[in-house]
């Protein structure tokens, strides 16, 4: 995209003109980032694949490889202020480096293709590609070298460490090679998790509001309407609490399986509800309904936490399979118990 707003000029090379990308992020880039983070977690937010320049690179300048997810690209270029380098943007279908590497779109074949398409061998003499370490699951470094005659160096996990990595003669410290999952990393995921899960919980809440009208020998719209605000609030709370609390409290929650961590959050919420109901602060209905809510909250919190495995940076496929095999039956039993308790409570109280 020659007219992309971050392009500030062109650099001519033996392989033609290469757009120069700014290393400063504009208000528009910041808005885009915010938008992707807050609402449209899964929309396409892409950069045209190809070769870009930052600063005034020479044929000896380093070549950094990136994904065409705009957040990945912005992240990288914003850390390169004052440096002269080339950026080779792969076509990863608008997906970030790590997820694309898992799918193989950030992979050996695409690197080979993009190196040829950009005629990189005519632009640089260094014949070395610097790949983000998190791209390694999709790339076979020796295979890239065999097919392109470009050597591969794996750079640091975080773009912020690239200047130091380059200064140190392309050496990464052990810390630069480690993936972290600190409280900030976890907190930024919350908005998108809320959006992703919203469909499920609005579905559950709607069904429960409708079921709220059941009476022993039929259906009462008035009764459904009367209980709707309370039912909807308790259903939404069942989701909102664990989505926020599980990421924030992750290291301190008991257990290693995410489903277990979530169940603890759910149990604590259920206890809170029990106490609040007894203190008269909330009115979930009769005793059966209260116990139904408590079981349902625990089941849903466990499920929500289990679904957070994919956003974490340390869960293995085998581990997730292992926990799902035990957690899903338990969650299903708890959810079924919740449904039976709650519906019988509604009928009994009608």
């Amino acid at each position: 995209m020659t007219g992309a707003p971050f392009v500030t000029g062109r650099v001519s090379t033996p392989a033609g003109e290469v757009p120069r990308a700014s290393t400063a992020l504009s208000w528009r880039d910041h808005w885009g980032t915010l938008f992707v983070r807050l609402a449209m977690g899964r929309m396409a937010y892409t950069v045209e694949p190809g070769l870009y320049a930052v600063g005034s690179p020479s044929p000896e300048s380093p070549v950094l490889v990136s994904a065409n997810y705009k957040l990945s690209f912005d992240h990288l270029r914003s850390r390169l202020g004052g440096l002269d380098a080339w950026i080779l943007v792969l076509d990863t279908k608008g997906i970030n480096v790590w997820c694309a590497a898992g799918k193989g779109t950030f992979g050996t074949d695409e690197i080979v293709r993009r190196v040829a398409a950009t005629r990189l061998a005519e632009v640089v003499t260094g014949r070395r590609l610097i790949l983000p370490q998190l791209g390694a699951p999709g790339v076979s470094a020796h295979e890239v070298t065999r097919q392109t005659r470009f050597g591969v160096v794996y750079g640091p996990v975080r773009a912020a460490d690239i200047p130091e990595f380059l200064r140190a003669g392309m050496k990464a410290t052990p810390g630069m090679r480690r993936v972290r999952f600190g409280i900030r990393d976890r907190a930024v995921l919350i908005p998108v998790e809320l959006v992703i899960g919203a469909k499920l919980i609005f579905g559950v809440a709607s069904v429960m509001v409708l079921l709220g009208g059941l009476v022993r020998w039929g259906y009462s719209v008035d009764r459904a309407a009367a209980s709707a605000p309370g039912v909807a609030a308790l259903a939404l709370a069942a989701f909102a609490f664990p989505v926020v609390l599980v990421p924030l409290l992750l290291p301190w929650l008991p257990g290693r399986a995410f489903a277990v961590k979530g169940a603890w959050v759910g149990a604590a919420m259920a206890l809170g509800l029990y106490l609040a109901a007894h203190a008269g602060v909330v009115n979930p209905g009769g005793r059966l309904e209260l116990w139904g809510w408590m079981a349902g909250w625990t089941a849903l919190a466990s499920y929500v936490a289990m679904n957070f495995t994919g956003a974490s940076t340390y869960t293995s496929l085998s581990g997730v399979y292992a926990e799902m095999k035990r957690a899903i039956p338990a969650q299903a039993v708890l959810a079924a118990a919740a449904a039976v308790l709650w519906i019988s409570g509604r009928l009994a109280g009608s």
């Binding site: 992707v36 983070r37 977690g41 899964r42 997810y69 990945s72 992240h75 608008g94 997906i95 970030n96 480096v97 790590w98 997820c99 590497a101 898992g102 799918k103 370490q133 998190l134 390694a136 699951p137 790339v139 076979s140 470094a141 020796h142 794996y154 996990v157 990464a172 052990p174 090679r177 480690r178 993936v179 972290r180 999952f181 990393d185 930024v188 995921l189 998108v192 992703i196 992750l250 290291p251 290693r256 399986a257 995410f258 679904n307 495995t309 994919g310 956003a311 974490s312 940076t313 340390y314 869960t315 293995s316 496929l317 085998s318 581990g319 997730v320 399979y321 292992a322 926990e323 799902m324």
Partner: protein, 98 residues
């Protein structure tokens, strides 16, 4: 406090006879699972492995095997429901993964 996932579940295997100690596995591993010294790689903290597959794919001597995949329950569920592969639902939103 480092976060630890389930013990004794991962499928990571190292065939020491094929290894020449090049160190590539230690370079690419995001969880420092390997230690390399004296011309030989060794699996240190095996339970820290997330089965990303980077080490196996980048070992020039095919000394490592692991069932690589994405540890994502939502992806596995979507895969079971929709018949797509487990990795297909990996959320591209994850900030740390940019």
């Amino acid at each position: 406090m480092p976060l630890k996932y389930l013990p004794n579940v991962v499928t990571l295997e190292l065939d020491a006879a094929r290894c020449n100690g090049c160190g590539m596995c230690a370079t690419v591993c995001p969880h420092a699972v390997f230690a390399v010294g004296a011309g030989q790689a060794r699996i240190g903290d095996r339970d820290a492995c997330m089965e990303c597959g980077a080490c196996a794919r980048n070992c020039p001597n095919e000394a490592i095997s692991v069932r690589a995949g994405v540890g994502c329950a939502a992806g596995i569920i979507a895969g079971l429901l929709g018949g797509i592969g487990p990795a297909s639902a990996c959320a591209p939103s994850a900030g740390v993964k940019s």
